[in-house]
């Protein structure tokens, strides 16, 4: 299941071309709709669910729909990036919330 861009939050990285999600997407799927100035995924079925774009989006505008193999509707996986850490919030289909913080190797 692919990513979903919340249009109200996305600001197209203000740069008018190549937003961060486009730069980071390993499949070259994310791009900017030049009419709306918002990012979108141009081929949903090719998305690998790597969540790189979700993590890097500074506006928190990209949500990940979890594939059914991992969790059914209602399950969520939300990353929050610090400068050298990441905090994951995992919500299962029953609404149980668990959070994990890790150091990343994005050293300064």
């Amino acid at each position: 299941m692919p990513v979903y861009v919340v249009k109200d939050k996305c600001d197209g990285c203000k740069g008018k071309d190549e937003p961060l999600c486009e730069q980071i997407c390993i499949g070259d799927l994310m791009t900017l709709n030049s009419d709306t100035g918002k990012a979108y995924c141009r081929s949903l079925r090719d998305c690998w669910d790597c969540m790189s774009c979700t993590k890097i989006c500074p506006k928190g505008a990209i949500e990940q729909r979890i594939p059914y193999q991992l969790g059914y509707h209602g399950a969520k996986l939300i990353p929050m990036m610090g400068t050298d850490s990441i905090t994951w919030t995992c919500v299962d289909i029953d609404g149980k919330v668990e959070r994990f913080s890790f150091r990343t190797r994005n050293k300064h």
Binding site: C13, K14, G15, Q23, M80, G82, T83, D84, T87, H108
Partner: protein, 702 residues
């Protein structure tokens, strides 16, 4: 990192700090910390003895970093400026104002907070880098745009200070609007006297080059060496058409003095300007008085109508500053020319500040009538007179006046020259099209470094204030005309190994200091930069760091922050305080002894807009219970939209928290002005209470 040698100096401030904080305990703990070579306690570090003790330790022990735990870093800056070590390697911890003084009632909490503060600052100084000011060459040439009274004065002042000056004027002659005037107020002397003097000074000064019929086509480069292309039109004749000549001038600084234009009262059809011959504007009056010798004596009955178009939402929403005095001056001239001349001034309010009040008094006593009330319409009667019918608000009755002449006191609006220049060089203007940066603190600045404003392109003003503003602009411009400039190394540095070229910094910089290098990476022009850190706050991957405060330092400080420093049940608030106001207000809270809970640890930032969303997220991830961002009110930010951007970024992180099923209340923005320490203390107290109710941050390490 192993060769770091930090010296920690604790000041008791003649016992003041030690009264509350157990410095000996902290000293002992600090001596065991990694990298700390020496810990010294002194009763007064800022005294000559204290300073020489620090210098001695630096020499003897070979310290490369110094941590001074004493009063606020905003104080005693001169004393600690030169310790014989690079000043970026010296870190100050605010033990007095923001710890001992404001927690005097709870010594235990104060010591615990001081411990946490010391730990964070040790980490900060550990990541410090020695930085030196950069010297940049600058030319000694200035450009003045606009040859009115402000521009001429700026040119003369700049040349007198030794600069080479190019004065350009779009009209074929100098003098601007002043050359169209008959008399100056308040002394009623002819402007030509002052102007002639200025012209002769311009002519005799070999350093001033006057280019008339010239306009700025474009401007590029940085302060110190702007490259300005100027188009000069040579007058055409029947045989030879107009010709253009374009030349490029390298200028260190630019003074914009593009002046004003009179408001055209034709849209106010009720006054019939342009239709009724006897209805003229105040500028028409000046022209007639100057050109027709008998004009003043002949006007038997004259009516002046004030605020035509001014202070009117539909036309000019502002007061044009000069019209009251202009009408009073013209009325006095009419009376002087012939005491039998009848003059009435119809007004809303008369505004004559300062010395001008005496002229107003003189007008009152010389028989000029003042009627509070503005006519709704002007009509010409059968005898060709203009009938003015007004409800006199003071007398409470309607008055009629048959005038030979009606003068409309029209205001000033931004000139076409200002608009053209704004487009040519990309200057920001306010909603009335005047060039503005931060009115109270930097009135003569534009939003671009090295470009200053003089005269009416900034706001409506009279001649004396125009000349004054020209002086102010000159004084500011001189910094860029010294042959070279030292730039403080506080400016941001982009780590191009991390940068993804998203261009957010380029878009968000309020001073347009960013451009692209040949590979498309953003690069900051250190001369245009004001080191506000808005780019550092906006960078989504934290690739931008300021000289005085890097992302690495902030992240390091969060790493070592003990989020249970007051115990398990007390919330911990991390406060990012703007150094211009909120931080100072917090200091004042201490100095005034306003008690404040010890739950907040502050970090001084150049602007609330310099706080990166990742740092806020990281603080929450590390278990901080609340983050308080305190800066100016939106319209007061020295960096224009710093606090507005800070709010947006804070909102982005709170949205994320909501998604994570965390309380968005854990992030808060507060506008705290410099003189409101009570509000600061109340905000912290209230917030700490609220967070206590909310409970512990679930991400706090158990």
């Amino acid at each position: 990192m192993s060769d770091i040698k930090i010296g920690v100096f604790l000041c008791t401030c003649e016992g003041e700090i030690e009264k509350t904080i157990a410095l000996d305990v902290l000293a002992q703990e600090a001596s065991g910390r990694a990298g700390v070579v020496s810990v010294r306690k002194d009763s007064s570090l800022c005294s000559e003895r204290g300073i020489s003790a620090i210098r001695e330790d630096i020499d003897k022990l070979g310290l490369d970093r110094v941590l001074i735990a004493a009063c606020s870093p905003a104080l005693k800056t001169r004393e600690f400026a030169d310790l014989g070590i690079n000043k970026y390697m010296v870190e100050r911890v605010n033990f007095r104002e923001q710890c001992s003084l404001c927690h005097a009632d709870n010594s235990e909490h104060a010591t615990k907070k001081a411990r946490a503060m010391l730990g964070m600052s040790l980490e900060k100084v550990r990541h410090s880098k020695a930085l030196e000011p950069v010297t940049v060459p600058a030319v000694k040439t200035a450009l003045v745009v606009g040859g009115g009274v402000a521009g001429i004065n700026a040119a003369l002042d700049l040349a007198a200070a030794g600069a080479e000056v190019f004065l350009i004027e779009k009209n074929p002659h100098l003098g601007g609007k002043v050359s169209e005037l008959h008399r100056y107020y308040p002394r009623l002397c002819p402007p030509s006297c002052g102007l002639e003097l200025m012209y002769s000074k311009l002519e005799s000064n070999p350093r001033i080059h006057v280019l008339t019929s010239s306009e700025v086509e474009s401007l590029s480069g940085s302060p110190g060496h702007f490259s300005v292309s100027i188009k000069t039109t040579s007058p055409g004749t029947i045989k030879s058409p107009e010709e253009y000549q374009v030349r490029t001038i390298i200028a260190g600084a630019v003074v914009v003095a593009t002046g004003w234009e009179p408001f055209d009262p034709r849209p106010l059809t009720e006054y019939g300007y342009g239709r009724l011959e006897k209805v003229i504007t105040n500028l028409d009056f000046e022209k007639s008085a100057r050109e027709q010798g008998q004009f003043l004596a002949q006007q038997k009955k004259t009516a002046f109508i004030q605020c035509v178009g001014s202070r009117d939402e539909r036309h000019l929403p502002y007061c044009s500053d000069v019209c009251c005095m202009v009408s009073i001056k013209q009325a006095l001239l009419l009376k002087q020319a012939n005491p039998d001349n009848e003059v009435i001034i119809y007004y809303n309010d008369i505004r004559t500040p300062g010395e001008y009040e005496s002229v107003y008094r003189q007008a009152r006593t010389s028989g000029i009538q003042f009627v509070k009330g503005i006519p709704s319409e002007l009509r010409q009667d059968e005898q060709g007179k203009i009938s003015v019918s007004v409800f006199d608000l003071m007398a409470g009755e309607r008055t009629e006046f048959a005038a030979d002449l009606v003068v409309l006191a029209t205001g000033m609006k931004a000139s076409r020259g200002t608009t053209a220049l704004k487009d040519a060089i990309g200057l920001a203007t306010n909603k009335e099209n005047f060039i503005e940066s931060h009115l109270q603190c930097h009135p003569q600045d534009s939003q671009r470094e090295g470009i200053f404003t003089a005269g009416c392109c900034r706001a409506p003003m009279d001649v004396s204030r125009s000349i004054e503003s020209a002086g102010a602009a000159t004084a500011k411009a001189l910094r860029y005309l010294q042959g070279e400039m030292a730039v403080s190394p506080d400016y941001p540095v982009v780590d191009i190994l991390k940068c993804d070229r998203c261009k957010r910094c380029v878009e968000e910089c309020p001073f347009k200091a960013y451009s692209y290098d040949d590979k498309g990476f953003p690069q900051v022009d250190i001369l245009k930069c004001r080191a506000c850190g808005i780019c550092m706050g906006g960078c989504p991957i934290g690739a931008i760091s300021l000289g005085e405060l890097s992302i690495e330092q902030l992240s390091g400080m969060l790493d070592v922050l003990d989020t249970s420093y007051l115990g398990e049940d007390e919330p911990v608030i991390l406060g990012f305080l703007c150094k211009n106001d909120a931080y100072r207000a917090a200091d004042d809270a201490g100095l005034k002894g306003i008690p404040c809970p010890a739950n907040l640890i502050s970090v001084m930032v150049p602007c609330s807009g310099a706080v990166n969303g990742m740092i806020i997220a990281e603080a929450i991830s590390k278990g901080v219970d609340g983050v308080l961002l305190a800066g100016c009110a939106d319209n007061q930010c020295h960096y224009l939209h710093g606090s507005a951007l800070a709010k947006t970024r804070l909102a982005d992180v709170s949205n994320k928290l909501k998604e994570m099923y965390l309380e968005p209340e854990r992030l808060r923005f507060a506008s705290i002005s410099r003189d409101d320490p009570e509000k600061f203390a109340a905000t912290v107290k209230e917030y700490a209470e609220e967070l206590k109710q909310l409970g512990k941050n679930p991400l706090r390490i158990q």
